[in-house]
Amino acid sequence: MEWFNSHILSILTFFPLLVSAAIFLVPGENFARTAALGGSILTFLFSLHVWHYFDPASAKLQFVESYIWMQEFGVRAIFGIDGISLLLVMLTTALMPLVLLSLWNSHYKHLRQYIGLIMALQTGMIGALVAVDLVFFYVFWEAMLIPMYFIIGIWGGARRIYATTKFILYTVVGSLLMLAAAIALYLNYYRQTGIYSTSLLDLYSVSLDPRTQMWMFAAFALAFAIKVPMWPFHTWLPDAHVEAPTAGSVILAGVLLKMGTYGFLRFAIPLFPLALQTFAPVLIFLGIVGIIYGALTAWVQKDAKKLVAYSSVSHLGFVVIGSVAILADGTLSSEGLTGALYQMINHGVSTGALFLLVGVIYERRHTRMLADFGGLASVMPWFAVMLIVATLGSVGLPGTGGFVGEFLILLGTFQASPLAGVLAATGVLLGAIYMLTLCRQILFGPVKHEENKSLKDLTPIEFAYLAPLAILVIVMGIFPDFFLNKTRASIDHLARNYKSYSLGVEGH
């Protein structure tokens, strides 16, 4: 037990990779399906273990493991988890079994390789969330791209190659600049202390002049803004989403996009607080443009998947402005930060569910055009229930997780800048319009098309992977404290002390 507790994060990170290797080596689709589902459930149980033993009162890093990688250059493999990464890790591990369940009866070509790549992707995502060393983080951050590149490129739609190339090039351009800035930061730390270290725990203490901070913040923020994606770097997202297979879309929207917003919270803000003062208005402006632009664009989409993709641009705009709301006393709004984190989780759950639901009707009708549906509520009642719950979660109806997140974000934004708050609030309104349009066009009205009359309602397996998400949407709206208790200490610490941020290590 002692050993297990002190190695839990590396087990959590690399276990999916082991499963992936096994899937690639053992022929047979049945083995692949079973191993992946079993492996991802086991990973979820590991993460529950972390959740259970995580000390909510502490803002320090917990379950820390540190291994030497390149001693001479101070590059180490450090794992650690705090209240911010904990929720995102839980989101990742909880989504994966559902995603794999959605592939249970699917008939993709080369299903074994597909599932193997998804498991490898999970290692990349968890690794990026628990890595506390810049180089180590960067390795996971980039390695995450490779499986996604293949998932979209091999199993995607007609324009998959264009979409996947655009996706990887956009992301890599941003990341390479981030790498250069990270190295410059590391060299600055060396000049100040005479010690080489790429550990975040050390790098938080670097003092940089404002000009240098600006450059480095810009490089980091660009990488994260592309990943989020913030307007005007969002154009890869609709392409990637439309072409990606369902499971790829769910992971992309559910987890991968959060890596960008997580990057702001973990790296850009605490490492370069002075630059944040200058860049916060820019980020808020871009965030608000993203909210409104994303919403308006979503409104006019005819393709359900594209609509959900643009809604992501809008929703993640909220997350960004919540993360950078600076109050009059110079601290970050802790409501804004809490809301941002909560909205990340909520977006993962509700948008994940929406993509899965679009996948359900696409599998039956091989079309995603809104005009091809209508009146499905009478034909597929359970599907209608799920879609309505996911939609309400997405628009932020009180009683769903989306409400808690958006409310806290708007609260924080109002405190920082009433104007920004008002503008962002229009996004909530627009969100209700386009999401309910989606609902209305698919579910209500008469059944216009003959082939829709005989559609089958959710199968037990579809029900099994959609129901947990629908329940989670409600539970997150009614018991937010259950989730937020674990993060409060870390969020407050970041909000109050981001200008002289440091992360202690639990038990040291």
Partner: protein, 496 residues
């Protein structure tokens, strides 16, 4: 009365690889004359045997810095690094050649003789402190390459490539020689180490500066840095693929070893000449190399331009050499070089495995659907492309990390930004191959124009497997260890 010079045993220990190769070369020459021993098998035995023996002798070379025959021969960690790497590549290439469709043409007495002789020239070049000897080694290697390139396959394309390579290569060599001559005139010594030590006193002298510039251009020619790169695409394309693999790797090794001896130890005052020069060459190479590679369809040509870009990255680290006592730039270059050699051998190995006598100029389209035809080969080529593109978790990423590290340490922000842009461009064409292999449809007949890779063990697949494993290991668990190992060679040449 002729008397054979007597040396102590240390000399023979250092000279052994060269002597073995020369002996092998003479035996192979005999084989081309005497019918009974001129069979392909016998030539194979002599060629691979003498390279393997030379490699063993190279492994036994002392790592301590010591010179012989007035500096004509220099032992030490850097010499050892170069000798072992070149011989290992040569051995691997020879073994892969045996399975290649040009095996019969390559393993002829006269070709093998020239090959072994040019190899000895390369060894002389990396293990010499005397510019005249060094130049003789360079010429031996270059002239041998011109001949091998045009002689193995006597067709028009091959000969055209050889002639182009010969003319441009000779110009490059002449420029380098003239540069050495001017530096000799300025410094009064032919010993490389004494020359760089004497440079500070004469650095402001016009002859020294002109000499420095010419040496820079000469090295640029041999490293295929833009704008001295013209020979590379034609030579790479026209040579039999095995020779391309050999040339793309070993020529870089030998030139970089000399460049390290020259530029690392050089005086600060010469930086005025060399630093701006290398900044321009590096930036141009990264941009032009990557952009030109973008529009190539012939795979060997594409790899040629990509190798120009990689020379550019190594040149970035050369610019960073100037910091006193810093071993990081040297090690960054050596690490990058090591990865480049491994990955190139793997990538050319894939080409050698796929091409046939009828189709020995593979294009991007020939790779369509390779993942279905030969999944393991496709996987290997994918790993190589990701490594060339600098994606983790491969060695290519660690190499770029160290190069950027060295450059930023010297405040070369502009060059790093150019490098970043170049890397982003490069990813586009490296990934295009991956797209073709995995996302393209299988073209034409069941076996298409490319050779189906047999399932039985072959040297070729062994090389690919080794390169894949090495690429991943150097990118994940081994970089720290590798950099420690390179420290000795780096301290040897680091600026005092």
């Amino acid at each position: 009365m002729f008397s054979f010079p007597v040396f102590d045993s240390a000399f023979y220990l250092v000279a052994a690889p060269v002597l073995i190769l020369v002996a092998g070369s003479l035996v192979a020459l005999m084989q081309s004359v005497f019918k009974p021993i001129s069979g392909q098998g016998a030539v194979e035995l002599v060629t691979t045997g003498s390279i393997a023996a030379a490699l063993l002798a190279g492994l036994a070379m002392p790592g301590s810095l010591q010179d012989f025959v007035a500096g004509a021969l220099l032992s030490g960690a850097l010499s050892r690094f170069g000798v072992i790497l070149i011989l290992a590549v040569a051995l691997v290439v020879c073994l892969m050649m045996r399975e290649h469709h040009i095996a019969k043409a390559f393993f002829r007495g006269e070709v093998a003789s020239i090959f072994l002789m040019l190899l000895s020239g390369m060894l002389v070049m990396v293990a010499s402190d005397d510019v005249v000897t060094l130049f003789v080694g360079l010429e031996l290697a270059s002239i041998g390459l011109y001949v091998v390139l045009g002689y193995i396959q006597p067709n028009r394309r091959s000969q055209e490539g050889a002639i182009k390579y010969f003319i441009l290569g000779s110009v490059g060599a002449a420029i380098l020689l003239f540069g050495f001559a001017l530096l000799y005139a300025a410094c009064g010594t032919l010993r490389l180490s004494e020359m760089v030590a004497a440079l500070p006193a004469v650095a402001n002298h016009g002859w020294a500066q002109l000499g420095g510039m010419l040496v820079l251009a000469g090295i640029g020619f041999k490293m295929a840095l833009v704008p001295f790169h013209m020979w590379a695409p034609d030579a790479y394309e026209s040579a039999p693929t095995g020779i391309t693999a050999f040339m793309a790797t070993t020529v870089k090794v030998m030139v970089l070893v000399v460049a390290l001896r020259m530029f690392t130890a050089a005086a600060v005052s010469m930086d005025d000449v060399w630093q701006p020069g290398f900044i321009v060459l590096a930036a141009l190479s990264m941009i032009v190399g990557n952009v030109m590679a973008l529009v190539q369809t012939n795979l060997k040509r594409m790899l040629a331009y990509s190798s120009i870009a990689h020379s550019g990255y190594m040149a970035v680290a050369i610019v960073a050499l100037s910091a006193a006592g810093a071993t990081l730039p040297v090690r960054a270059i050596l690490f990058y070089l090591l990865t480049y050699v491994i990955v190139s051998l793997g990538a050319f190995g894939v080409l050698m495995a796929l091409e046939t006598a009828e189709n020995d100029q593979l294009t991007v389209d020939d790779l369509s659907g390779l993942s279905k035809k030969s999944p393991w080969v496709a996987l290997a080529l994918t790993v190589f492309m990701f490594s060339f593109g600098g994606m983790p978790p491969t060695a290519g990423f660690i190499g770029k990390f160290f190069v950027f590290n060295a450059a930023l340490n010297n405040h070369l922000y502009g060059l790093v930004v150019v490098g970043v842009i170049g890397s982003s461009i490069s990813l586009f064409y490296y990934l295009r191959l991956v797209v073709r292999m995995y996302m393209g449809e299988s073209a034409g007949a069941p076996f298409g124009a490319i050779r189906p890779v047999s399932r039985i063990f072959s040297v070729n697949s062994g090389v690919m497997a080794f390169a894949v494993i090495a690429t991943i290991l150097l990118g994940t668990v081994l970089p720290g260890v590798a950099m420690e190992r390179l420290n000795r060679a780096a301290t040897e040449v680091a600026r005092k």
